[in-house]
Amino acid sequence: MAEEIKLMKGNEAIAHAAIRYGCDGYFGYPITPQSEIMETLMALAPWKTTGMVVLQAESEVAAINMVYGGAGCGKTVMTSSSSPGVSLKQEGMSYIAGAELPALIVNVMRGGPGLGTIQPSQADYFQTVKGGGHGDYRVITLAPASVQEMADFVKDGFDLAFKYNNPVMILADGIIGQMMEKVVLPPFQPRKTMEEIKERSPWASVGKPKDRKRNVVTSLELDPAEMERNNIRFQKKYREIEDKEVRFEAINCEDADYLIVAFGSSARICQKTIETAAKEGVKVGLLRPITLWPFPSKAIYELGKKMKGILVMELNAGQMIEDVKLAVECSVPVKHYGRLGGIVPDPDEVWEAMKKELEIKPDLSSSSVTDAGESISKEQLTEVISNLNQMVP
């Protein structure tokens, strides 16, 4: 069968991919810049085709608890929101992690704090990878840098959620959500039958037959000794995920003297930055963490040993830089460049900042041309930002 190539927004790709994956239920609440996810689902009306439930909840709080309820039945369920709404979901995510339920949550980040702005940001890195809700838990975090990855990470996210019975977040930002790019949509796969669900999730609350004990989906355990055992089990699972599930992309890192670490749309911008650096005779590589937790610490440590300096570029005041610094164990200078509150830098601005922060002297005699892959064009960015300017929160 020929590949189906479509042109669409990242948000729309999520909706299409969810239906095609065989998702059983989406529960959401409108918030810019991700409302197209629920709008697309409602327009596609998958309850008429695959039987997928799509429901607009009364709040983000209700939506994440609907996800808890659906996940507790072993169903393949998801929600999506943007930063202020994701703050409201943190309680539910803690419960989902505590009850060890599989669930997919999408955050299309916008500038904060508070109501902030509807323009793109990456300021929810800490909230996502360091906790967000209460208790010692972790959320597997996938950071897409293209519309294609928005589609692909729905499958990857659900697969990981069910592999580890753990919440998974797709941490995108307003650029990736709103930008239009070519995307190859995944093939349709059927929703799981109740028999398959019982096989996959024998702990799920689906109605108790006479021949098994009752299933109780809960995060409550008043006996501290038992609760410690639960926590130790969680931590063991988290260490396993850190061992097995790290994902990253390394671009032009082999003979680089300097390294940029950036995720999501920032990485796409920095692809152009390393091309500019090459023209000025400086070899810069790009390490793009795809999983933000588990973080590619080992890869960054190994690369860092060969580098003269590292720049961490984020659309925030310096969050992921803490994990990069921990990873390199002071073996190399690590500096940060970021723009805040919805401003997106262009690739040249990043390069100028990098030269200044790391005291890099260009060497035009070794100027070269390199291809670091498809960056986000200025035209694409301008379109995204002007579209967002016409939206309301």
């Binding site: 429901l55 309820g69 659906g70 989906v217």
Partner: protein, 253 residues
């Protein structure tokens, strides 16, 4: 004649429902929860829905409801049971789904979830135990606490100036087009228990008939929280709670 001759099917008027297990209950003496649990278990059993029922437990005294009734359960975050029940029922429409919630859970922190699940006409049963106090946390003021009633957080008595008014949330829910049955019951006498069981059965049947949301409020006692003996608590409930929360059907369509 010994007991074997007396206990025959035709003479049997009372038995423990098979769905109630032998776990010792954590409820205080005189608490209404035990009776309401038993009624729920009896109705589920008599309807033959043991294998198809999923309960959603609250945060509050009934947080451990799942320890006593032998069906599949989910334990909700405080106030969120109706949202969880919504998803369970929508994803598995052939199951019988109910929430079991107290007054703080349902009428304070979970007000939005309660009203919207009812307004959407979710085909679920909401069992609402109203004892006008937070039992689990040690007797603080509830949204349904009566005027003048003393609790740990209104030690001088509830006043409208400081605390507003007792929330008659069943009257609110009765107004919503998504509810098909809203009733107020109690379990303080044998006759009341019989009536309450009928109401509960109707609510569960409605949910399977797809008629919309059914709410069964139980005006209840909290002897410990009210600092009374069980007998005093029952009398106090009749004299003080019933005038504020009159028993009977508020809506039955």
């Amino acid at each position: 004649m010994d007991t074997k001759d007396i206990i025959k099917p035709e003479n049997l008027v009372y038995a423990k429902p098979a769905l109630m297990n032998d776990n010792p209950m954590h409820y205080c003496p005189g608490c209404s929860h035990g009776v309401i649990h038993k009624l729920a278990a009896e109705v589920i059993e008599e309807m033959g829905m043991e294998e198809k029922t999923i309960g959603v437990a609250p945060v509050g005294c009934a947080v451990f409801a799942y320890n006593y009734i032998d069906i599949d359960w989910q334990e909700a975050a405080h106030g969120r049971a109706p949202a969880i029940a919504t998803a369970i029922k929508r994803l598995m429409p052939d199951k019988m789904v109910f929430t079991y919630q107290g007054d703080g859970d349902l009428a304070a922190i979970g007000t939005a979830e309660t009203i919207h699940a009812c307004n959407r006409g979710e085909n679920i049963v909401i069992i609402f135990v109203n004892n006008a106090i937070y039992g689990m946390t040690g007797g603080q003021m509830a949204p349904t606490t009566l005027q003048g009633m003393k609790t740990a957080t209104c030690p001088h008595g509830r006043t409208p100036e400081l605390n507003g008014y007792p929330l008659k949330i069943s009257n609110l829910l009765e107004r919503l087009e998504g509810t098909c049955y809203v009733t107020r019951q109690s379990v303080h006498t044998a006759a009341a228990v019989k009536k309450a069981k009928k109401a509960l059965r109707k609510a569960f049947e409605n949910s399977m008939a797809g008629k919309g949301a059914s709410v069964v409020e139980f005006v209840s006692t909290c002897a410990s929280g009210w600092k009374m003996t069980p007998d005093q608590a029952n009398k106090w409930m009749v004299e003080n709670m019933f005038p504020e929360y009159p028993l009977g059907d508020l809506k039955d369509v």
